[in-house]
Structure formats: structure tokens, C-alpha cells
């Protein structure tokens, strides 16, 4: 593995290796504290995403490495008209590895074709965001102790939510997982997920429109934002916006060992009143994001400890 562009480029073995390494880091942080000494990570963020950028930078710092980069296109050479290929080739002279966020789909893929150093896709438009998927997988593995044999509910915007699509694709390679898709009819998963992922692999799934009817079946619920701009009119949005909010009442219907995940940032789809519930995993999930990025950086740099 030279770059990470799309989580489906990884084999199940490669994913398991990265997750196992992340768990080893969590168990013995000191062992890794100088693993990337004198190495540099460049964070090239052609559009702002503070959360993801800080996660990458914290990951490199915890490995004893250094970070450099920019956090938006107007502070980068793109503002002067430089191509992404030239930027990557130049930065590759200064840094050992690059994490790139770009508003255009495929920019990290193209960069990987011209770069001398490993490229990590830190999100390309609405296309891929593989380190979020690895974060989700690590969270499930740590919370449940396994990546198979459970029922997962995916709730909210399943049409445009790229994190949902890539999580489904990644999990589809593990056994015994049932999928419950909870969304308004306007925001159901795209047809290709149904035909090319679920039906093609004989995977058990169902689509429902309310949370209440399925809460008791779920081992995991993955919440996503329902954004106003996804609706054609205000009335539909107002009608539906509270339907997909996880609160104390809905949680009463759930299993005692439910795991609640959310890629963050949230708006109001998870009530803050349940943040202290032990079933709420989303802040632990953010922490896992740092560890999985540490494991990924070590893997791509070929550093063994």
C-alpha cells in the first residue's frame, strides 16, 4: 500500500492490520511516541476542515513527528493559479507524507499518480473520506469487540451521506451483518448501494422511515445530519427534521449495549441530553480517529516499532 485514496482499495487484511496497529498504539502509547521522529506530515487542505486537519496533525505529533501545511485554498499557491500536481510535487520535496483535502472529486487520486511521497485522501468533495471509514470501523471494533454478526442502523441522510456509503461498502465484506436503513423517502440510499452491494452479496437489509419501529433491534446506530439544503422545500424539511433526532425517549426503546456513532460535527440530530449515556460513543469515535490516523501514517511510511 503506497497511498490511501479510497477505503475500498484496502483488502480486509490491510484494514485489519491498520485497526490492530491502532489498538496496539492505544495500549502502549509510549512505545510509539518517537516512531516518526524527524519525519514531516504536510496537511494540504484546499478547503477548510478544522476537525479532520487537527486530527491528522495531532496524530503526527503523537508519533514524535512534525507538521506543516495550509488550511484553505486562499492561503495556498492555488490562489496564484498553481496546479494541484505541481503543489504536490513541490511539497513532496519538503514532507515525507501528505494528507490532502480538496473540494474536487479525484484530486487526491490524481495527486497519487504524480507524487513521490504517500498521499492520504482526507476528503475529496462528496466522494471519498477513507480515514473517516477507518475511524468508524475502529470504533465498532473497540465498542463491540468484533466486526461481524451485528445489526447496524444507519439513520438520516442516506442519499448524499458519503460516510454512510463507504461504511456500508467496507462492512459488506464482513459476515453476519444486518442493515437497517432509516431515512425519509427523499433521502434513501442510492439504488447502486441496494443492487451492487446488498443484493449482489445477498446481504440482509431493510428500509424504514421511523426510528421507533426498529430501535430495539439495533446493536449499533450510525447517526448522520439531515441538512436543510437537501430538501426541495421548507415544508418537507420542517415536517421531517425532528423525526430523525435521537433523544432520551427513543433511547428508552434501545438495547442496553447499543453503540451510538456519529461522524461529527452534529447539529441537533443527537440530543445533548444523552451525551452522558454510556451508549454514546461519538466522542470516543473522534479519539479513535486520531489513533487510526497514527496507524495509517506508520503503515504508509513503512515505520515499524
Amino acid at each position: 500500500m503506497k497511498h490511501l485514496i479510497d477505503s475500498t482499495d484496502l483488502t480486509v487484511e490491510e484494514i485489519d492490520d491498520i485497526l490492530d496497529l491502532a489498538i496496539d498504539i492505544i495500549n502502549d502509547k509510549d512505545k510509539y511516541s518517537e516512531a516518526c521522529k524527524r519525519k514531516k506530515l504536510a496537511t494540504l487542505f484546499f478547503e477548510p476542515s478544522t476537525r479532520t486537519r487537527l486530527s491528522f496533525e495531532a496524530a503526527m505529533m503523537e508519533l514524535g513527528g512534525n507538521v506543516l501545511g495550509f488550511s484553505s485554498a486562499d492561503s495556498s499557491s492555488t490562489a496564484k493559479g498553481e496546479s494541484v500536481g505541481d503543489t504536490v510535487r513541490t511539497v513532496g520535496c519538503y514532507a515525507d507524507i501528505i494528507a490532502m483535502r480538496h473540494p474536487k472529486e479525484g484530486a487526491p487520486m490524481f495527486s497519487s499518480m504524480v507524487s513521490e511521497v504517500p498521499i492520504i485522501n482526507a476528503g475529496d468533495g462528496g466522494h471519498n473520506h477513507p480515514t473517516q471509514t477507518l475511524t468508524d470501523l475502529l470504533t465498532i471494533k473497540r465498542e463491540k469487540g468484533r466486526l461481524n454478526n451485528f445489526t447496524i442502523g444507519l439513520c438520516g441522510d442516506l442519499k448524499f451521506g458519503r460516510t454512510v456509503h463507504s461504511l456500508i461498502k467496507a462492512l459488506s465484506r464482513y459476515e453476519g451483518i444486518k442493515y437497517v436503513l432509516i431515512s425519509p423517502n427523499e433521502l434513501k440510499v442510492p439504488d447502486y448501494i441496494i443492487t451492487e452491494v446488498f443484493e449482489k452479496n445477498n446481504i440482509d437489509y431493510k428500509e424504514v422511515t421511523t426510528m421507533e419501529e426498529v430501535m430495539g433491534e439495533l446493536d449499533i446506530i450510525y447517526m448522520t445530519r439531515v441538512q436543510k439544503e437537501r430538501f426541495f422545500n421548507e415544508a418537507d424539511y420542517v415536517r421531517l427534521k425532528d423525526t430523525y433526532i435521537l433523544d432520551k425517549d427513543k433511547l428508552k426503546l434501545a438495547k442496553d449495549d447499543l453503540s451510538i456513532l456519529h461522524p461529527l460535527p452534529r447539529v441537533n440530530e443527537i440530543s445533548t441530553t444523552i451525551d452522558d449515556d454510556p451508549r454514546a460513543c461519538y466522542f470516543r469515535q473522534a479519539l479513535n480517529g486520531k489513533y487510526v490516523r497514527m496507524a495509517l501514517i506508520l503503515t504508509l511510511l513503512g515505520v515499524t516499532v
Partner: protein
Amino acid sequence: MKIESIQNGIVLDHITAGKALTVYHDLKLDKLDCSIGILQNVRSSKMGKKDILKIHQEYDVNLDVLGYIDPNITVSIIKDGQTIEKKKLALPKRLVNVKKCKNPRCITSVEQDIPHIFNLTDEANRVYRCIYCEADK
């Protein structure tokens, strides 16, 4: 009018009737200055009607472009009046700068120098996906 038979060059046969000008255009044959014969609606026992292109010059035909347009076209290389080679066409696995990605969110929409590359992902339905954004248009 007399269509000369070719001494040295290439014959593209079994082109779907009416498509000769599309092939001419896509292969950019207007860039050549040799004589080019375009035959349309030629009777064919196999196809009913077909088109034929005759290029009177040695020419390194882009088989990927041709295979993408229509893999049933036959290509004969003519030397000294004899057919010395018949090339088989197949649906190309990869298209480089043959078609352009039309996804406005794709990196190729803002950077002119990036080659437009598509991979064949579904042979039965002739689906090609942009390697960058994975759109199939």
C-alpha cells in the same frame, strides 16, 4: 466516379451504416492530407448496409478509440496492394483522452492538464468510469 483501390494504407470495414463520419471525426482523420475514401450504405450480406473508410496512407490507427466507438469494425492494413494484417478490435480496458469526464465536481473540470482516463468497469453494459471521480458519464 472511381474509388481507387488502395496500394498502401488502411481499410476500416463493417462500420455501422451512417457512422463513417463519426469515425472520421473521432479518429481526427481531417488532420491527414492523403486521400480518404468514405463509402456509405454499401450493401453487405452480413450487415445489410455498412460504411467503409479507406485511408490511402500508412497510418497508426488508434485501436482504442476505434474499439470504443464500435468493436465490430474490422481493420485491414494494406501494403503494395495486399492485405498484410487484419487487426482485431476489443472494447478497450482503459481510455486515455478519448472521452472527457462531464462531472462538474471532478478535478478534471478545473485542471486542464490532467489526462482524462476511464476504466471499463462493466463490459456487458459498456460502462466506463472516470478514474478520478468514478462518474460514468
